[in-house]
């Protein structure tokens, strides 16, 4: 059988003219197949699951345990990742996209991660212990080395003191304090004195240890005061930088040894050492024992180094092996977690042992979705096929506009204002050209446009490298994301710059100016002879200086030289252009609203909204456009007969603005520019300028005013009448006007149940209550009043709003001219080498200011104004923007978001 299209379903339309046709579908998934089916749909990224359990809290859902297990796995993987980064091991990121693992593979992953984490924690603990031992032994080694020197020094000093006799000398306080020990012995016998001294020295105790260098001064002072000078302290710095055994930070330390007498002092000294967190080590008394201990310590240090190296190597090998897989594992775990989160949205049918899901999906992609479900079912080994059952609903579907890298920028511009109501016309296709074009009307300059174009070209040509670089700067990302918009803005700016004949505020005489000099040489000489007169300005009369053929493309370069009245000419041109462009775009918007009304089959909207709007717009604003064109075509500097009236000259050219005001005021005006006697009226530019203008304008104004009550009351009235008729015949209407057909696709081994409604698609986005529930007249009236007022007043204010096209263009041109006149032109006044240097420097300044002020700041300003013209002036004519965005369940999006969150940490 051929393509099956249900009645009322349109054939698929290409592009982004409207949002995709969406349908609500019910999925019946076998419990054992549901995981695989959801995995396949996640890879596809084309379905949006609805939450069928909104009242159930997160902790009561069916698969909350599985989600917790995934969280635990994720935590372990992050721990692994942190350890890998700490060791500065490069992590392999192949960009590989593995399939979501099967549930049984999840158990394997859990076991793997558990084993890896435990192994790593054990290795870390062992390494910590080994490092602590190593540090302690190193400290002991230094103590044994330094204390040997200490003891030798002490022995030498003491013998020298003894040999020096018993006379008191002016020595240090420490030495003086030790003298009483010598006096204990019998002074009579020299030999006996020696023996006594030795015995006294043997009774001295000592402790040795290590302390941090910065604590030493306080330590020394406290010892001295607490022991009242009865201790002897010697210190020496350790040259090696040791590591703190707790934090691993490098620490500078000192070896110290303290000599004292008696157990009381020993206790006190030890307490002080503990208070200062000094580490005490045992130290033998005799040199021989110290030497033996030192050798033992050295041996143990070497052994520890070997073991520590092996431990670190082992840790490194574990991390290197893990680093090859961590990225892939994270991807897998995240996919599993998102699948279980999605399964939690389902209903569980206990009797039939299946899960029920409801999804929004594009109708055009139903085949792909069915194929995905079939693949999932096959992979799980289930025998019962998964069923996709399309449902009918009055709920508004989500809005889904398929985009590519080019259209995404423009779609974002539209979506920032509002997501399109389901199936209403998408403004983005028209925005693709009108947005950069209106920007260019404001920005128009060939030089600045070229800069913008080249910048965008750089982004476009380098887009793969720039995407891979993953630059995190938000401003850069904004520019890069909008590179195609910027490209078109630059291209159109070059075109409009050519039209304005503006290159960095200078003009080019490409086709030969249409204006020539008409002032005799003698007159010019007369003005130039006098210094004061040479500053004068003269007007080239258009009757004679203009050769009758306009400059073919763009503005005549003579106007760039017309310092006196250049702005008068250009402002007049640009204001008229703004009005014409604005009204053209607004009219186009109203025509698009007609397309929407046709699509949603809103006859009332067509008759009593679209037609009155067009009449209103035509009576006033399109008539204004016609007047602008007529003034351009028929009125010049040369007099003659125009449209039946005698036209004296340019001073009588009609004023359109005042004419528009007089049109509404219905003021009586003179007909024609001259009276019966051939004399020109004093204010001839206020006269009517074609026969019957007063009558025609009265008719137009009345016609416009009549449309307002039509827009205001007609639609609510007819809705009210329709509602009354429906309530009268409601008993005769059948309860259900739907029929149902079931189609079995034998080839694909699945089934589809389609509820085919009799009606055509309903405008569900419009809250007018077409047969859905009772009609709320108050709401309808308020809505209609708001809409009518918005349109009527909007036409007036929006027309004025489009004048910003002129204002921004004027600002840009004048700023550019100021930059040239005040900055760069100064370089040309200077001569010689100074002039060359000045040109170089001032060009740099001129270039920098051009880029930063005129391209970036002015460009941003023009961008924002073009944005407003599209959001308010254009889209308000037809765009509801009341939809919500289609958010499909997509692994790609989930992983991208996770990666972005990860990089922001």
């Amino acid at each position: 059988m051929g393509d099956y299209v249900t009645p009322g379903e349109e054939p698929p339309q290409p592009g982004i003219y409207r949002s995709e046709q969406m349908c609500l579908a019910q999925l019946y998934l076998q419990s054992d197949a549901s995981y695989q089916c959801v995995a396949e749909l996640g890879e596809l990224g084309l379905v949006q699951f609805r939450d069928l359990n909104p009242d159930v809290s997160s902790f009561q859902r069916k698969y909350v345990n599985e989600v917790r297990r995934c969280d635990e796995m994720e935590r372990k993987l992050r721990y692994l990742e942190r350890e890998i980064k700490k060791d500065q091991i490069p992590m392999l990121d192949t960009g590989e996209n593995p399939d979501a693992p099967l549930p049984r593979e999840m158990i394997d992953l859990e076991a793997t991660f558990e084993k890896l984490e435990n192994e790593l924690r054990e290795v870390n603990k062992n390494e910590e212990t080994l490092k602590k031992n190593f540090s302690e032994l190193t400290e002991l080694k230094h103590i044994l080395r330094k204390t040997q020197t200490f003891f030798e020094e002490v022995d030498h000093d003491r013998w020298r003191i003894l040999e020096g006799g018993s006379g008191r000398r002016g020595r240090s306080t420490e030495r003086e304090e030790t003298r009483p020990l010598i006096d204990i012995g019998d002074m009579d016998d020299d030999s006996a004195a020696r023996m006594s001294a030795q015995a006294a020295m043997l009774r001295l105790g000592f402790v040795a240890g290590v302390i941090q260098r910065e604590r030493l001064p306080a330590f020394e002072r406290l010892l001295w005061r607490a022991c009242r000078g009865n201790v002897f302290l010697r210190t020496s710095e350790i040259d090696d930088v040791l590591n703190d055994t707790v934090t691993g930070d490098p620490v500078n330390k000192c070896v110290f040894i303290i000599f004292f007498q008696g157990d009381h002092l020993k206790t006190k000294v030890k307490k002080i050492c503990e208070g200062f967190r000094a580490t005490l080590y045992p130290c033998p008394d005799t040199p021989q024992e110290r030497r033996e201990m030192s050798i033992g310590v050295m041996t143990r240090i070497e052994d520890l180094k070997t073991v520590l190296g092996q431990t670190q190597d082992h840790r490194h090998r574990v991390l290197v092996a893990a680093s090859k897989n961590v990225r892939m594992w994270l991807t897998k775990v995240r996919k599993i977690k998102s699948i279980y989160h999605t399964l939690n949205l389902f209903n569980i049918d206990v009797t039939q042992k299946c899960l029920i899901a409801e999804v929004w999906c594009p109708i055009a992609e139903l085949d792909r979705i069915k194929m995905a479900l079939k693949r999932g079912t096959d992979e799980s080994g289930s025998q019962v096929p998964s069923i996709l059952n399309r449902m009918e609903t009055n709920e508004a579907p989500p809005t889904y506009n398929k985009t590519n890298k080019f259209t995404k920028g423009f779609q974002n511009i539209v979506d920032a204002y509002g997501i399109a109501t389901y199936r209403e016309i998408n403004p983005a296709p028209y925005t693709m050209i009108s947005f950069p074009f209106l920007f260019a009307v404001m920005f128009g300059d060939m030089g600045h446009g070229a800069i913008m174009l080249l910048a965008a070209l750089f982004f476009i040509l380098k887009e793969k490298q720039l995407e891979a670089a993953r630059i995190k700067d938000e401003i850069f990302q904004t520019f890069f994301g909008g590179r195609y918009v910027i490209f078109l803005m630059g291209a159109f700016s070059i075109y409009t710059g050519f039209m304005y004949n503006d290159v960095f505020s200078k003009s080019i005489n490409t086709f030969g100016s249409s204006w020539q000099n008409t002032i005799p040489e003698s007159v010019i000489d007369y003005y130039l002879d006098d210094e004061k007169r040479s500053e004068s300005q003269l007007i080239l009369p258009p009757e004679t200086a203009f050769d009758g053929n306009p400059y073919p493309i763009g503005v005549d370069p003579v106007w760039n030289l017309a310092e006196g009245n250049k702005l008068s000419f250009l402002n007049s041109m640009k204001m008229k252009m703004s009005v014409l462009f604005g009204i053209a775009q607004m009219t186009f918007g109203v025509l698009l609203s007609y397309q929407n009304f046709i699509y949603f089959k809103s006859d009332l909207d067509i008759k009593y909204m679209f037609i009155p709007q067009m009449i209103f717009l035509s009576s006033i604003f399109i008539y204004l456009c016609i007047q602008i064109l007529s003034k351009w075509l028929f009125f010049g500097a040369v007099g003659g007969t125009v449209l039946g009236y005698k036209y004296p000259g340019s001073n009588c050219a009609p004023s359109l603005l005042i004419g528009l005001i007089n049109m509404f005021m219905m003021k009586s005006r003179n007909a024609g520019f001259v009276d019966d006697s051939g004399e020109t009226y004093p204010q001839c530019y206020l006269s009517t300028w074609y026969p019957g203008q007063a009558t025609i304008e009265i008719i137009l104004v009345v016609l416009a005013l009549v449309q307002v009550p039509i827009m205001l009351f007609a639609k609510p009235y007819f809705l009210y009448r329709r509602d009354k008729q429906q309530s009268r015949y409601s008993t005769l209407t059948a309860e259900s006007n739907q029929h149902q057909s079931v189609r079995a696709d034998i080839n694909q081994d699945d089934a589809e149940v389609v509820h085919a409604p009799e009606q055509t698609p309903k405008p569900s986005g419009h809250g007018h209550g077409h047969g859905d529930g009772p009609l709320e007249m108050g709401d309808v009236m308020v809505y209609q009043a708001i809409h009518t007022i918005e349109f009527v007043l909007g036409c007036v204010s929006h027309t004025a709003s489009y004048l910003r096209l002129w204002a921004l263009s004027l600002a840009h041109a004048q700023l550019s001219d100021v930059l040239w006149t005040m900055v760069f032109r100064n370089a040309f006044v200077l001569d010689g080498y100074t002039g060359a240097i000045a040109t170089y420097i001032l060009f740099f300044i001129f270039g920098s200011l051009s880029v930063f002020i005129l391209v970036l700041m002015e460009g941003l300003s023009a961008f924002l104004h073009a944005l407003r013209l599209h959001w308010v002036e254009f889209q308000s004519k037809f765009y509801g923007g009341l939809g919500y965005e289609f958010a499909p369940f997509s692994f790609e999006k989930i992983l991208a978001e996770e990666r972005e969150a990860e990089e922001n940490l």
């Binding site: 290409p14 028209y430 020539q516 763009g554 503005v555």
Partner: protein, 86 residues
């Protein structure tokens, strides 16, 4: 005659782009979008051109220029035929 040549040639240029361009777009998923862009470009650019052209068709005012610049114009761009040099 000096009016007709640019009027016809530029309008023909944009008409060829606007009416002929859509036909040569190769078939593909984005054909409709490209066609729409071509047509809108032609319409916008032509509208812009014709407005500038019409504005200069019958000028109401002449340029007000410095005397020194007028001498420069006289030398570089030439004088009008009806100038009487005494």
């Amino acid at each position: 005659m000096g009016i007709l040549i640019p009027l016809v040639s530029v309008s023909a240029f944009w008409a060829i782009i606007g009416f002929g361009g859509p036909w040569i777009v190769p078939k593909g998923p984005n054909r409709g979008i490209i066609q729409l862009m071509i047509i809108m470009t032609a319409v916008c650019c032509w509208m812009f051109w014709i407005m500038v052209f019409l504005h200069q068709l019958n000028p109401l005012i002449g340029p007000q220029i410095n005397v020194k610049t007028i001498r420069w114009i006289s030398e570089k761009w030439g004088d009008a035929p009806n100038v009487i040099n005494n």
